[in-house]
Subunit: 398 residues, 2 copies
């Protein structure tokens, strides 16, 4: 790359480890010869358009290490799909600030933004490296084995279900927990990390990859409740009917056209009300919607996830400055072998932009459960989980 | 006490450390000379009535240590206020099984049950030790400085707000988080553990100790949002209007007459809808209801809380068998001094039964905030919290 500045932005919903990638990028850019300064865009693409840029090169190691373990976007984030005219203004800002490498940390919407900027830069023959650095708790990016941010969210969801399974066993009833994920069930599937004993919940798992049928759901709940005297349900916020419509309608969308599903307890409350109406009003039915805690809870990140998030940032800086590639999306590849190992790679921006990777078919079990193979996939990403134990329930006089 | 068996039950909503008290009791009872066996009642008082008793004396140390770190009631819990006739049947069960010491781990409802049983035992001249062992995330028991279970819940709530404050800073908007607590604001107040920088949320804290006024609330939110460009609100599920009525009506009650407030997102959704209706429909407003995770999340207990919960169990066994007291409720006293230290004590059952300790007046600041003194109270109980850091936002060309 020609000598110049690096610019970093963060975009989309936060994760627990998105700042690890930011700090990895800053480290990598500082160490790279052609880079003559590291800038940050406050609130991503919006900050570039408003010229809200800050100097990241002057941050102390102490501050950066503190930022790295702080959840959510230290640069602050944005949900914005730039128009063609806005992309042209972004390119102009790159030229004005002598930016020769732009790194956008985000999901598939951010990859799309990087892709559009790259096409425009090629048209205008402006030489700039454009890299997408992946993050999403949804784990729904293509090509990569998994996404930084997912392991920590999976760890949170697994621990939440582990506790709630004990809660449901203490005070039996029907409990529904709504997990983030509008199109992909990866995070909801992580609820099975909670299972340690034969009858541990979640007993039923519903993901957007399957059509949700209310009658079938009520039948499932009734069957589990009859068998175990209790029932713990995991359901994605994005579960939908056969016509693709969500169970609960919302009219709020962002500029990418994504419908607001989080930040409301409506879906869980609706399912709980249906159970009471159809299976018995005297049943003890509760619903919790895990909400933003899944992506932002402080102090409970997965160590593997934190390490990998840092490494994808460092790797992106290396790739951009090594001169082999002008643009791309960083991916994580899982190595073969018993013990979990990963390495960082890269793919073309268009392979990631706008695409969504849903839960692999092999990880689904029927319409309401997750296959055992999924545990091999998710366990190393979430890191070591708490262990639970039960009393032996020895009879008297034994 | 006369030689005989000990019987242990767990009651009410679970906590992360209620099993520490159970294991402390088992340890203490096993070591006490007059105790000739340790029984457990499955589902508390209901298990005694149904003769669902198990032998706790045969559990291995390995199992007990595993149980101790497992959240929620390993003996399984119950929400049941026994009638007079049922109390007589419980006494009969004590006699049948030669129970000379009964320990009920629970909140003020459980203290009331122990108190009623004690009165009846005195009437019938049946010699039995009756002890209440405190647990509640609500921290609303009288006499004791704080309740086992509260520190871990406070830790969870503090970390949740710490993350959500970063989330709210990343993607600004108005965010409402509903915290458990129907009559007392202790747990909601713990949200202030999240504040580390000047403009950190929660910016507004609403507890049941104050009358909730919807117009004042909307004015508060508007003012904070205008000032900071964002607003993070902590509100107890039990906030209520001047006439004492909750904002959201529910018809479901337990046999103690407690109204169901948890397990629904209705209050948060209502407040979010009011903000959009009155302050602007284009505002980004979200609500999360933390729900059962506050009392059951696995792997994130406060170490101090876990240690104290264990110790109140051990102490109850000591008190019951030492011969000085026939009945009582175990309390925790905070010692004077810079460094946090506590010791275990005891008070009469009637001082705890049915009473509710609301948040001390000195910990309240106006109608919508918590006084700094409260941090000194809660911080040692929650244990060391995660640290967050921010970028310095250095200007360009500095």
């Amino acid at each position: 790359m020609p000598p110049g500045k690096a610019l970093i932005g963060q975009s989309g919903g936060p994760t627990s480890v998105i700042n690890q990638s930011l700090v990895g990028l800053i480290e990598g850019c500082r160490a790279a010869d052609p880079i003559r300064g590291v800038l940050g865009a406050v609130h991503g693409i919006a900050g570039i358009l408003e010229d809200r840029l800050i100097d990241l090169g002057r941050e102390s190691t102490e501050t950066l290490e503190g930022v790295a373990v702080t959840p959510c976007a230290a640069l602050r984030s944005v949900r914005k799909k730039p128009t063609r005219e806005e992309c042209e203004r972004v390119l102009a800002a790159f030229q004005r600030h002598e930016v020769r490498a732009f790194f956008y940390i985000g999901g598939n919407d951010s990859a799309e933004t990087a892709h559009i900027l790259n096409e425009l830069a090629l048209e205008q023959a402006y030489d700039v490296r454009l890299f997408h650095v992946p993050k999403t708790i949804d784990n729904d990016l293509c090509v990569t084995d998994h996404c930084p941010g997912y392991g920590s969210a999976a760890r949170f969801v697994g621990s939440a279900f582990m506790g709630d399974n004990q809660d449901n066993r203490s005070l039996p009833g029907i409990k529904i927990d709504i997990v983030m994920g509008r199109h992909a069930g990866w995070l909801t599937a992580a609820s099975v990390l909670a299972r340690q004993h034969d009858d541990d919940g979640p007993h039923l798992v519903y993901v957007p990859e399957r059509i949700f049928d209310l009658d079938a759901f009520l039948g499932d709940v009734d069957r589990v409740y009859t068998r175990h005297g209790r029932c713990l349900v995991a359901a994605s916020e994005g579960i939908h009917l056969a016509d693709g419509k969500p169970l609960i309608e919302s009219t709020e969308t962002d500029s990418h056209g994504n419908v607001q599903l989080s930040g409301s307890g409506a879906l869980g409350d609706f399912l709980a009300a249906e159970i009471k109406a159809r299976l018995g009003s005297n049943l003890r039915v509760r619903a919790d919607t895990f909400g933003y805690l899944q992506r932002s809870f402080a102090g409970y990140a997965s160590p593997v996830d934190a390490r990998e998030a840092r490494e994808v940032g460092r790797a992106a800086a290396r790739m951009a400055t090594a001169g082999e590639l002008a643009h791309g999306s960083v991916i994580i590849e899982r190595e073969e072998g018993e013990e979990y190992r990963s390495r960082v790679g890269v793919t073309a921006l268009e392979n990631v932009a706008q695409h969504t990777r849903t839960l692999d078919e092999e990880y689904l079990l029927g319409d309401n459960d997750i296959a055992p193979a999924f545990l091999d996939y998710v366990a190393p990403l979430a890191g070591e989980m708490p262990r639970t134990a039960r009393l032996s329930d020895f009879p008297l006089g034994g």
